[in-house]
Symmetry: C2
Subunit: 254 residues, 2 copies
């Protein structure tokens, strides 16, 4: 595995690997903005999978290159897809091209929501509330009570709040798409931990999923600690050929 | 794909295949209790993956046989694993043995909960409430208000309520195991739709996931319609090599 970026998420994924919490996955190289073109080419060539945990700009630059090399790429800064009408535009084409995998990030339930979307989307409604401290949202005014700072589509949220909308984009890509997923961002001076609420309604079922995440102290209050573990789950699932969101019992674990 | 059983879940999965909702998957054979040994051998031999949607007894019988044939098996009646100290005891061993995949069934969030469990289980607590009509739970007395009919581990729930505990077992296998997952079953004469509430607490985050499912009319009120779609998601994820619970963008879809 090659890692792009070694900040809050990348650093935590590397730590999880070092602790042996992600069996079967080995860190090959860490790419940073000062990496040379040759270092990048070598790292992609040696990796089975490349993990981006850096920025929307890095994702935009790396996705065509990694997929053209036939390697799979786990993209954390999935807000990049809001810039493109078809999220697959960024990927290299052709039978030997690699794929992009988007982890659920700070939320979950993409398993049941993608199943509900497959059952039918005509009468489906989906809302994602993100409730963070004003500092984590770069809201500078002094707030004494919670305030809605954004309401719109997941696409608009990603363009307006590129650092804090990745979970909305993952949710949208798994279900109703970037333009039919409603996102509400709330700044709340009272919250210590980041909260997410996902509401789904459709004929197959109504779901309300509440996530209250501990914040990674290295991230300036922006990144939930669970996000790095969601990347670890995707790495494990790639090795297993299925999951997360499904239990895999394999004889090869003995 | 070969299907064992054609009841509420199996029938709905077959219907989804016929509607083209599960691309890349084709139904080869449907096995029933009256199938001959030769029909079973042929069906397993021709399939890449076998789906069990029948009964705990059928799961117990088929898991060793299918995995010994080197085929993967999606097991809906996963309560069968409560009968065995190690859930993998039932699987054939060896490098060429097939695997078992357990779908989330009537609930979801196994993606985030398995990530949270990977982050650490020492201080983790997990509760699963199932709230169904008395008829769906085979509670025969006339109830005028909701009543708790069971509280215990996921293992005990599966042994006592084999028809209605599969989601509890899937949840337990994905996280804290069958003996540390607390299950509460509530009979409620007021409920029209089956409700599930999953509560997780650990240092990485607190999650409360509420699922209210439409019931499949063919199932006597026992089976949620989403369950068949969770099987469809696992079939799609096996074909994609990852997911559900992760978005896979692949160039090969063009």
């Amino acid at each position: 595995m090659a890692m792009i970026g070694a900040g809050a998420i990348g650093g935590a994924v590397i730590e999880a690997l070092e602790q042996g919490a992600v069996p079967g996955v080995r860190l090959g190289a860490v790419l940073r903005s000062r990496s040379t073109d040759e270092e990048i080419t070598d790292a992609i060539g040696a990796a089975d999978v490349v993990v981006e945990a850096s920025s929307v700009e890095a994702a935009e630059e790396y996705i065509p290159r990694v997929t053209a090399a036939g390697k799979d790429m786990i993209v954390c800064s999935c807000g990049v897809f809001a810039r493109h009408k078809d999220p697959r535009e960024l990927l290299a084409r052709g039978p030997s091209a690699g794929r992009v995998l988007v982890p659920a990030g700070a939320i979950g339930g993409l398993d049941v929501l993608s199943a509900a979307a497959r059952a039918g989307t005509d009468d489906a409604h989906l809302r994602h509330y993100t409730i963070k401290s004003p500092a984590a949202l770069n809201v500078e005014e002094h707030l004494t009570q919670r305030r809605e700072v954004f309401r719109g589509s997941a696409r608009q949220a990603a363009l307006e709040f590129p650092l804090t909308s990745n979970a909305s984009v993952a949710l949208a890509l798994a279900t109703l798409g970037l333009d039919r997923t409603e996102v509400i961002v709330v700044a709340d001076p009272e919250v210590q931990r980041t909260r997410h609420v996902v509401e789904w309604e459709s004929p197959v079922g109504d779901y309300e999923l509440q996530f209250e995440n501990s914040v990674d102290p290295d991230s300036g209050g922006r990144t939930s600690a669970i996000t790095a573990w969601s990347v670890a789950e995707v790495l494990v699932s790639l090795a297993a050929g299925a999951g997360p969101g499904v239990v895999v019992l394999g004889a090869d674990r003995w």
